[in-house]
C-alpha cells in the first residue's frame, strides 16, 4: 500500500510529535505523584499546573475551573450524573437533543431508568441544528440542566451555543456542552457563551488518548463521579495522569495558536471536497449545515449503496474514512443523528464521513473524490436498489 490518506480525524487524531516530546520526561524522569510532598514531585505538580493553565487560557476560564478526566465520555457522564445528584432536590428534568453522542444519550437513558430523571430529547432541523423555540418550550420549573453539544461528531453541525447559553441563564438553568469535537476547532470563550460546564477529550485535537477534562464554572455545585482520593480539588479521584495532562496542555495550546491558519486551510479543502462530490456524483446529499459546520467535516449520503462496503473499498486505496452506518460499532441501527435530520434508513445507510486534518491537501481531496466516483458506481452496479 502506498500513501495513507487519513480522513477520520473526528474518530481520533495523530498525537502531535511536540505533544509526545512534552510528555516523555514525565514517564521516566519526572514520574513523581503530584500529591507527594518531596521536591521531586513538585515537578509533576508544576507540569499539571501548567497544562491546567494552558487549557484554561484556551477557554477564557480560570485554572481552578478545569478538572482532568479520562476522556470525553467520563466528562459527559460526570457532568450529567453528578449534576443530577446535586440538583435533584431542585428538579429532575434535563433537556438534551436527539443528536448527542452516546456518552450523553446513554447516560440520559441511565438517569431515566435508574435514577428517576425526566429527559427531553429535542428535535433538530434538517441541517442538524437545534430549534431554539422548542428548547424554550421544553423548559419547566423542574428543569435543572440543558446539555447541548457544541458541534456534532457525525455531520459537523455547529449549534447556536451563545443563544442556548442566554436562554439557560435567563431561566437560571445550568448549561453543559459536549465540546469534544469543537474544542480546538472553533473559538470558545465560556464566559461570552454562557457555558457552565464543558466536556473535551485530548485525542480529538492531536493530544493523547485517555485524557479529557470537564470545565466546571465556579459556583456549580456538582458532586464527584469518581470517588476516592483528594485529587482535582477533591472532585475527581485518581492519581493524575501527568504525562497525559501535560500532553493535553500542549495540544490545547497548539490547537488554539494555529486555529485560524489551520482551519482556513481545512475549510478550503472541505469545500473543494463537497463541491466536487455534489457536482460529479449523482444521487448524493450533503448532511449537516452547509456553513454552520466544523471546518474539517464532510458527510455525504450516496443513495442505493451501503457505507461499510464503501469504507472497505476506500481502504483498498489507503483512504481511512468512516460511515454513518453504525454496523461496525456493535449496533446495527443506522446512525441516530442521520435519522434525526430526517434521512430514511436506506439513505442513512449509505453515508460517508470524511474528517480532515491540517495535513489533508487538495491533491488528497482530488484523489479521494476520483476513487469515490469509481467505488460508488461499482457498488451501485451491484445494488438491487439501483436501476440505471
Amino acid at each position: 500500500m502506498g500513501k495513507m490518506i487519513y480522513l477520520d480525524n473526528a474518530a481520533t487524531t495523530k498525537t502531535a510529535p511536540e505533544v509526545v516530546e512534552a510528555m516523555l520526561p514525565y514517564f521516566t524522569e519526572m514520574y513523581g505523584n503530584p500529591s507527594s510532598i518531596y521536591d521531586f514531585a513538585s515537578k509533576s505538580k508544576e507540569g499539571v499546573s501548567k497544562a491546567r493553565g494552558q487549557i484554561a487560557d484556551a477557554l477564557g476560564a480560570k485554572k481552578e475551573e478545569i478538572y482532568f478526566t479520562a476522556g470525553g465520555s467520563e466528562s459527559d457522564n460526570w457532568a450529567l450524573k453528578a449534576t443530577f445528584e446535586a440538583y435533584k432536590s431542585k428538579g429532575n428534568h434535563i433537556i438534551t437533543t436527539k443528536i448527542e453522542h452516546h456518552a450523553i444519550l446513554h447516560t440520559c437513558e441511565y438517569l431515566e431508568k435508574e435514577r428517576g430523571a425526566k429527559i427531553t430529547y429535542l428535535d433538530v432541523d434538517e441541517n442538524g441544528i437545534v430549534k431554539l423555540d422548542e428548547l424554550e418550550k421544553a423548559i419547566t420549573p423542574e428543569t435543572i440542566l440543558i446539555s447541548v453539544m457544541f458541534a456534532n461528531n457525525e455531520i459537523g453541525s455547529i449549534q447556536p451555543i451563545r443563544e442556548i447559553g442566554a436562554i439557560a441563564k435567563e431561566h437560571g438553568i445550568l448549561f453543559h456542552t459536549d465540546a469534544v469535537q469543537a474544542f480546538g476547532q472553533v473559538p470558545i470563550n465560556v464566559d461570552e457563551l454562557g457555558i457552565d460546564m464543558l466536556s473535551s477529550s485530548g485525542h480529538k485535537l492531536n493530544g493523547p488518548k485517555g485524557i479529557g477534562f470537564l470545565y466546571i464554572r465556579k459556583g456549580v455545585k456538582i458532586r464527584s463521579f469518581v470517588h476516592g482520593g483528594a485529587q482535582e480539588r477533591k472532585r475527581r479521584a485518581g492519581t493524575e495522569n501527568v504525562p497525559g495532562i501535560v500532553g493535553y496542555g500542549v495540544a490545547a495550546d497548539r490547537a488554539v495558536r494555529t486555529m485560524k491558519e489551520r482551519t482556513d486551510k481545512e475549510i478550503q479543502v472541505r469545500d473543494h471536497f463537497i463541491e466536487r462530490i455534489l457536482k460529479e456524483i449523482p444521487y448524493v446529499k450533503l448532511n449537516g449545515d452547509r456553513t454552520k459546520r466544523l471546518p474539517n467535516n464532510v458527510n455525504v449520503s450516496f443513495q442505493f449503496i451501503e457505507g461499510e462496503s464503501m469504507l472497505l473499498m476506500l481502504d483498498n486505496y489507503g483512504i481511512c474514512a468512516s460511515s454513518g452506518s453504525a454496523c461496525t460499532s456493535g449496533s446495527l441501527d443506522p446512525s441516530h443523528v442521520l435519522l434525526a435530520i430526517g434521512l430514511p434508513h436506506e439513505i442513512a445507510h449509505g453515508s460517508l464521513r470524511m474528517t480532515l486534518s491540517e495535513e489533508t491537501t487538495m491533491e488528497d481531496a482530488d484523489f479521494v473524490v476520483d476513487k469515490l466516483k469509481e467505488i460508488v458506481a461499482y457498488l451501485r452496479s451491484m445494488s438491487p436498489l439501483y436501476e440505471d
Partner: protein, 148 residues
Amino acid sequence: MYSEKVMDHFQHPRNVGEIENASGVGTVGNAKCGDIMRIFLDIDDETHIIRDCKFKTFGCGAAVATSSMATEMVKGKTIEEAMKLTNKAVMEALDGLPPVKVHCSLLAEEAVHAALWDYAQKHHIEIEGLKKPKSDIHEGEEAEEEEY
C-alpha cells in the same frame, strides 16, 4: 476484522449480476440493519440442478462476501442439496465472521430459500423443508459477545 477469505470474496465477488428470465428470484432484507440481498437462479427443470446463480446485494462487506460464497456453493447443486445450505456452512467456507456479522450470512441462506420458493411457486412444485420466506428476517438475538 474480516478473514482473508471474506476480504477476497468482498473484493472480488463471484457471480455479481442478474440472470435474465431467471428460473427463480428471491429478495430478502434484514429488518435490523436494513440490508438487502437478491439472488437469481437458473435451474434445469429436468434435473433440478442449479446451472447458474447470480446476486445483487446492498449491504456490508460480510453481506457481499456471503452472497458471493453462497452463489458459488449452490452452483451445480440440485435443489435438494441447495436447500441444505446453511448460513453456518457459508460462514465456515469464509473462515468465519465476527459475531456482529453472523446475521449477514443468514441473509444469504434466506435469499437462496426465497429464490427457490419463487421457483417452486412458478412451477407449482413443493420442495421439502421449504417454507414461505419472510421478506424481512430477524435474528432472535443480537450477538452479544464480541471477539477480542
